[in-house]
Structures are given as structure tokens and as C-alpha cells.
Subunit: 184 residues, 2 copies
Amino acid sequence: MSIAFTILGLLSAGSWSGYDLKKVFAESESLPWSGNNNQIYKTLVELHREGLASQEVQQPAEGPARKVYSITKEGTAALREWLMSAPESPQLRAPILARLIAADVLSAEELDTLLARYADELRLRILGLEELQRRSAGSVAGSDRRALLQRLTDERPLRLLRDEEAWLHEIRWAVTKLEKEPRL
Amino acid sequence: MSIAFTILGLLSAGSWSGYDLKKVFAESESLPWSGNNNQIYKTLVELHREGLASQEVQQPAEGPARKVYSITKEGTAALREWLMSAPESPQLRAPILARLIAADVLSAEELDTLLARYADELRLRILGLEELQRRSAGSVAGSDRRALLQRLTDERPLRLLRDEEAWLHEIRWAVTKLEKEPRL
DNA sequence: ACCGACATGTAAGCTGTTACATGATTCC
DNA sequence: GGAATCATGTAACAGCTTACATGTCGGT
């Protein structure tokens, strides 16, 4: 999936230091990276070495020195090429699926407990994301295209959770129905 | 996410060799592993070493020798413990999101082309999965709980793709609308 | 004096992938 | 003889994570 191009994409909207990018990755639900130092600082060095990003050392009046990176002309060209290459399909990583495949070793009550706990977990995450979204709503407000794309991508992870909740509802209904039915 | 417990889960429904499991992982959309030798054979050795699975070398009348693994009592206990532990939330890996965040460097026409290509890619994958589902529909037919859980989990990846298609539709509509609108 | 935020970097390790290596057997 | 399927395993490497290491600055 290439974190290098993702960073290049973020640099296309402005200049950032590794520390800045770290926070972006840590707080973003849409970008599936933890935002750990190792990857980010190494990728920035790499991008600079390849001439796709330029580095400027800033010594602010207050605080420690920071290395601020900007996208270069070559970087923009590489970014555009990546953007227009064949897009990949999305992938779902749902550990619950692996559990459900094996869940036949559980009793009816145990399976019910597992599904109820999963429902709780989903609800909690949804509430958390909704709260985050509400708080950051102001920062990406705007009627320009960049703001629109930002909002639409920001909402995608929440949409997944809501759909997972709906799917779980169907499962619980189907399982309950099967358990109540007399064995044929 | 632990491929070890996932394999243990598969063993809970019957005895399989590494080669069998390899095919299961390669063909399953719900289990996010490629089914490469390295992981599977090493994990089986590990499960055997820990006493969670037993190994039986079979020399069939035809073909090469195979090592068939079965779950042990300890394995079943470990599996049940894993199943009842706190379930994790699903995670979406959608490379398109990283692109859209950077897509403001594209012209209106280029963005439109990208979204159209993504729509084509999704359609293709959906048709492929639907075909797969139709063909395997017979093999997991049954009114017992294991078959029900199998069917419900098998359908989940297709549901994601359909939702992604619907989401993409909304995006394309919003982008088109913005482009037609006179700049304020 | 210490804690927390700012800021950059490295080490060690786990997970996962592709590709390689070996060998039996069956079908054309 | 060669390709395809069955079957087990190893090597090399890419990707990603946690934890460690170092240092500045401001507030309590």
C-alpha cells in the first residue's frame, strides 16, 4: 500500500516535519499505520534521497530544531503517477470472522455472549469515532474540493463500523432463530 | 490476529494437512492470509510442539506421504479461551482513501477517471465473488449451526465490496455536484 | 526537581510475502 | 519427456510494531 506515497500525498498539501506526520497517522482512522517513528523518519530520509521531497532545517525561537519536508516537482510527478495507477480493492480485516468459523465449539449461551460482547465493542468504537468527528468537524470545514475529499474519506471508517453493526444484527437474529427452532 | 488460533479453529471441525490448510487460506476471502507455506507449516509444528494439535503421518496407497493434524483436548481448551476473549473491532484497508486525501493535485477529469476505474475494479471483484459464492453454495448447504456460521462469514467480504460501491457512488455524486456548481 | 510536550532517531523482533528447493505421482 | 497436482519444507526479504535512547523547553 506504500506509506511513501501516502506521506508524499500529505506533503502535497503543505510542509510537515516527521513529528507532524506522526501525529497525523496516529490520529487518522483512514490511514492504516500506527505512526511509529521508525517508518516515518526512515521514509522521509528515503524520499529526500530520491529527490521527491526537499528538507529544510528550522530553528524556531522556542523549542528544539525541526526538519521540515516539502514536496518537489519530481515528487509531484511521482505522486500523480501513483494516483492514476490501477486502484486496488479494499480489504476487510475482521478477526470476528475467524472466530465465527470456529464458534461451533461453543454452547448457544457462549456464542450469544460472544456476539453481545462484539456488539458492545462496536458500539463503543462508533461512539468514540462520532465524538472525534464532531470535534474535528470545524477544522476541515470548507466548500473546496480538498475539504470535501477529506470529509468523505474521514467518514469511511465510521461507515464500516455501522455496517458491521447491521451485519452483526442479522447474524444474531439468524442464530437466535436457529436455536429457537425445533431440530428437524 | 493470530493465524495459530485460526488454524486451531479449522482443526476443530476435522483433521487436515498443511497442504489442505494452504488451500483453505488461499481460497478464503474472510481469512486475510495468503496461505503461504512458511507460516502454515511453521505454525503446525508450533501447535504440535505445544501439545495443542497431534500429528499423524499417513502413507496413502497413492501419492506422497502427508502429515495430518488433529486438535487435542488442550487445543480445544485453548481455542475456547481465545473465542471467549475480548473481540477486536474490524479494520478497513482501503488504499483508495490514501489516494483521495492527495487527489486534490489532480484535475477534475483525472479525478473522474480515477473514480471510474475504481468503480470498474469493484464491479469486477463483486462479479468474481458472486460467481465463487454461487459455485460453493452447494458445499456449505445445511441447516446446522456450523453451516449457518460458515455462510454468514463467507458473505461478509462481498457485503464490504457492495457497501464500498455505494459509498463510491456518493463520492462521485458529491464531486460532480461540486464541479458543476459555480464557484462562490 | 520532575513531568509532559516537542523533536529526531535506532534496535530488536514479529508477521507476512515471494521465491526457491525437493520429491512423488498422474496424465498427455 | 514434460506439465500438473500433491506434499513438505527453507531462505531472503519487506513491512510494521514496541521499546529504547537522546535532547530541548515550559510549567508546577
